[in-house]
Amino acid sequence: MLFLLALASHAADLMVDVRSRLGQPAVLRGEFEQSKQVAGFKKALLSKGDFLVARDRGVIWRTREPFASVLKLTPHEIVATQGSEIAFRLSANTEPSVRVINGLMFSMLNGDIAALAEQFKIAGTAEAKSWSLTLVPKQAAFAKILTRIELSGDVYVRRIAMDEANGDRTVIQFHKQTPEPAKLSADEVAQFD
């Protein structure tokens, strides 16, 4: 019993520790490098670009290389555009899991550990400044798709690694993250609409 209590308090301590180190600003911009190893492929798929996370609005994920495309995730929908053409659109009205997917993306980029703790069992370590966590889905249906997420960082999340059940592995590194300016420009606001 005591042992269990100690375990529980350890998990809670870890969460508090990590949260205290994270900035979680209202607006966060930065650059990313993504490497995706698809099961059965010889080479990993590399892509680069920049991203924008705005609290209450969602995420803009803009790939510049190897081709230009924009992925927008808001509480209401997921929209992927290539040039001016919409390649993919999914509305939360018809598919409630859009919220889950978008919430997950937002929480990972912004380091919202409390939100992640609702869906995942969390373990890990916290050093003086840096931390790293391993997330395992609580729900069986979720685990059928995503087996594990690794998050690490300091004031910001610096690296995400996702393992999918089908063997695909995605690793994303972040650079040049900044909370300034704290307000969205008119152009950025327009991107969310």
């Binding site: 995706k36 698809v38 080479k43 995730l73 992927a80 993919f88 999914l90 993306m105 069986a140 089908n166």
Partner: protein, 781 residues
């Protein structure tokens, strides 16, 4: 004297036998009550198929209560719902709760369909694969690969580069907004989260005991949920709740209206006769009538319809007149005179009985089994009550009965009535009556919509609408019935229907539909889809090869997929994946199989019309509108009933003419006029004409003519007894039926209001039409 004794004794034996029969029926719950309105339609007009479907649907739904708990964030909703479920758990014998679900349920659905993944396509996917060039599709597949996050994918990319299966699953899951979260059923609406609980009431939804037990438990559970989450919103809906609301309403009215009318009737008789005996005996006569009616109907029809019981019971109420008439004539006479009195009154009472029985007998000649049952019930009940008065009352009523001051006062009021003739009163009366009749004729309208009869509390209706919207429930009252000689034919016919529905949906005719073939397409469709996926996606020049080339990967040849058996309906039906939709498959049905296709967002008459118009062009597809059907039944009954009443007037007039000769019209016209004025009054008040008003008119004829007969038999202005008898009978009827006008149940209110006006006016008008002759003048003649 011995003959009367034998009759009374014989009747006693019969009544005892019927008493035994009734006791046997009621105590063992052997009385089968039919509540399905369609069961009252004529056999050849009643569609057995539709009836079967409706029964199957309502049976499964009649015990279910759906509860949504929440309104805020998910953790609050979860806490509140846990508390709600916890509060219900000790009452497992009243209501069973389905709340916690297996987390693995959603995963099971994926596993179940996976073997058939390459032959299950949505309409949109079929369209996409058929119309877009493979290069474009390949570009899309590549773009999707670079997204950090997107639609969940099942299996490796190479097996399904366009994620067809993931999208198919998501589309299917999109049929319902309910999801599994934390081992509970959940629902999200904007920022509001709800947990879903399914309750099943034990026992029948219409059993009083079950209802009484249910409501306090649910209230307690709601309170507990509020304790866990103060801002909680608890929405509950289901047939048991409507039934309980109706029962509570009925009980409340029984306590107020019922007690009020009983008290009034007892007091009235008590003061008029200064004895309780008359009331007891009149009640006895009606009780014997009801008992006999139930016995005979059960023997003849096996099943008794609820409507028969309600209306038959009121029609037997005409028997009130005979008992009251007996006692009014007994008043102030020596007990020894009662035999003589009865012989004297006998013929006129027989006439009163006969004129009422004529109407009921005509009912029996209609082709509607429901009306026939009501007719047999009423006629038997009336006869039995009448016989009880005639054969038993002299034996049971031995005491003296002095004329009370009140009785004499009531009876002598007759002298106050003016006489119609060449006088100013007649002119004013005629003008008033004609004005009212013209006004009524101009504003009368008919409405048989069954929904008029609904009187669920607005609170329940609001919750029904909220939950219907939140869960996006399909319409329960209208659907397509799809039939075929085998399962495959049903599914292909569904698919033909769905093609039409897609077009209709594109034009805004509905917002969606729900069909078995969405989950298990016909074998033909599965074969076509498999061929399309093979050609467009997996083939040598397909999307997969093109995308691989784009990515610079060498495409490993796909292991040639073995020809896969189509997904069979039986496999799906026996898996957990089909659980929420299983009821739409009706299985073996007549000579073949059948299913139903449900529609969403089909509100408004024009949408219903357009949906109905699709069916005739499609083989094996029928449009079923249960609401319209019931309304249609009501309309036919009303129409038929109107005919019966018209014919009754003719026959009653003939019977009256046989006894009263050229004076006969004086007994009938007051009732006819009262009925017409009643209809006018209702029309002017804005009440639409329904079956229940018309049923009341038949009762008014039966009672009103009795007033005419009793009065015309002794038409003297100073004759006390006939007017006393008529007034007491009218007062009792008004107290018993007229007070129903206060009911909140629309059908009862319509009935009660008609009785109130009709009986009141019949009583008021009858003395006006009596011959102007008074005793002195008669003597001169």
């Amino acid at each position: 004297m011995s003959r009367t004794r034998w009759l009374a004794l014989g009747w006693l034996v019969l009544v005892l036998a019927m008493l035994g029969h009734n006791a046997w029926l009621w105590t063992g719950a052997r009385l089968q009550l039919d509540t399905d309105v369609l069961a009252m339609l004529p056999l050849d007009e009643r569609d057995a198929t539709v009836q079967h479907v409706t029964r199957q649907l309502t049976d499964s739904a009649s015990r279910r209560i759906v509860v949504l708990v929440g309104g805020g964030d998910w953790s609050g909703a979860r806490r509140a719902a846990d508390a709600y479920a916890q509060a219900l758990s000790p009452y497992d014998q009243v209501v069973s709760v389905r709340y916690r679900v297996d987390d693995a349920m959603a995963a099971q659905m994926v596993d179940f369909f996976q073997p058939w993944r390459n032959q299950l396509l949505t309409t949109q996917q079929r369209h996409m694969l058929g119309s877009q060039p493979p290069e474009q599709l390949a570009a899309r597949a590549v773009e999707a690969l670079y997204r950090p996050m997107g639609m969940p994918r099942v299996g490796v990319w190479g097996d399904d580069p366009l994620n067809l299966f993931g999208t198919w699953l998501a589309t299917r899951a999109g049929e319902s907004r309910v999801r599994v979260a934390d081992g509970r059923l959940s629902l999200v609406d904007g920022e509001r989260h709800y947990a879903l609980l399914m309750l099943d009431q034990r026992g029948s939804a219409f059993s009083m005991a079950a209802q009484e037990a249910l409501m306090p438990i649910l209230a307690h559970a709601k309170q507990q949920a509020g304790g866990a989450m103060p801002t909680v919103e608890v929405l509950a809906i289901g047939v048991p709740l409507y039934a309980a609301a109706a029962a509570a309403q009925g009980q409340h009215e029984m306590h107020t209206i019922g007690a009020g009318s009983l008290l009034g009737i007892v007091l009235l008789t008590l003061f008029a006769f200064s004895a309780i005996r008359p009331r007891l005996l009149v009640t006895l006569s009606i009780a014997v009538g009801l008992m006999a009616a139930i016995s005979v109907c059960v023997l003849l029809f096996e099943r008794l319809h609820l409507i028969t019981l309600v209306f038959g019971a009121s029609l037997v109420g005409v028997a009130e007149n005979y008992g009251t008439n007996y006692f009014s004539n007994r008043l102030g006479r020596d007990p020894s005179e009662r035999w003589h009195m009865l012989r004297e009154q006998g013929s006129v009472m027989w006439l009163a009985m006969l004129t009422t029985a004529i109407g009921y007998a005509l009912l029996a000649l209609t082709p509607f089994p429901g009306l026939r049952q009501i007719a047999v019930f009423s006629a038997v009940g009336l006869l039995a009550a009448f016989v009880t008065v005639l054969w038993w009352f002299p034996f049971l009523d031995r005491g003296t009965m002095g004329a009370t001051r009140l009785a004499l006062w009531i009876g002598s009021r007759r002298a106050l009535w003016p006489v119609l003739g060449r006088n100013r009163f007649t002119l004013v009366f005629s003008l008033l009556a004609i004005t009212l009749l013209v006004l009524g004729a101009r504003s009368i309208r008919v409405n048989d919509d069954i929904r008029l009869l609904q009187n669920a509390p607005p609170e329940l209706i609001n919750q029904q609408m909220r939950i219907g919207k939140l869960l996006q429930l399909p319409s329960p009252g209208q659907f397509y019935l799809v039939q075929g000689s085998n399962q495959e034919e049903v599914l292909t016919r569904e698919e033909a229907l769905k093609a039409q529905l897609d077009t209709l949906q594109a034009h805004g005719g509905l917002s969606g539909y729900q069909a078995i073939s969405d989950w298990v397409p016909s074998a033909r469709q599965q074969g076509a889809d498999a061929a399309m996926v093979e050609r467009v996606v997996q083939g040598a020049a397909g999307v997969r090869a093109l995308a691989m080339a784009k990515l610079g990967e060498t495409a490993k040849p796909m292991a040639v997929p073995a020809p896969i058996e189509p997904l069979r309906l039986d496999a799906w039906l026996s898996s957990t994946a089909s659980e929420p939709f299983r009821q739409q498959w009706l299985g073996r049905f007549g000579d073949g199989y059948a299913s139903i296709v449900l529609l969403r967002g089909i509100d408004g008459a024009d949408k219903l019309e357009r949906a109905a118009a699709l069916a005739p062009g499609l083989p094996g597809v029928r449009w079923v509108d249960t609401v319209a059907q019931v309304s249609d039944v009501m309309a036919r009954y009303r129409y038929r009933m109107g005919g019966v009443i018209a014919a009754s007037y003719g026959l009653v007039f003939a019977a009256l003419a046989w006894r009263f000769g050229r004076k006969a019209w004086r007994a009938l016209l007051p009732t006819a006029l009262a009925s017409c004025l009643t209809l006018s009054l209702l029309a002017v008040l804005g009440q639409p004409l329904q079956l229940f008003n018309v049923l009341a008119l038949l009762l008014i004829l039966g009672m009103g003519v009795d007033y005419g007969i009793f009065m015309l038999e002794q038409p003297d202005r100073d004759a006390v007894r006939p007017f006393l008898s008529v007034t007491l009978a009218a007062a009792s009827t008004l107290l018993a039926f007229g007070l129903l006008a206060l009911s909140a149940t629309p059908a009862l209110r319509a009935f009660g209001l008609t009785m109130l006006f009709g009986i009141g006016l019949s009583w008021l008008l009858t003395p006006l039409f009596l011959p102007a002759t008074i005793k002195p003048i008669q003597k001169v003649e």
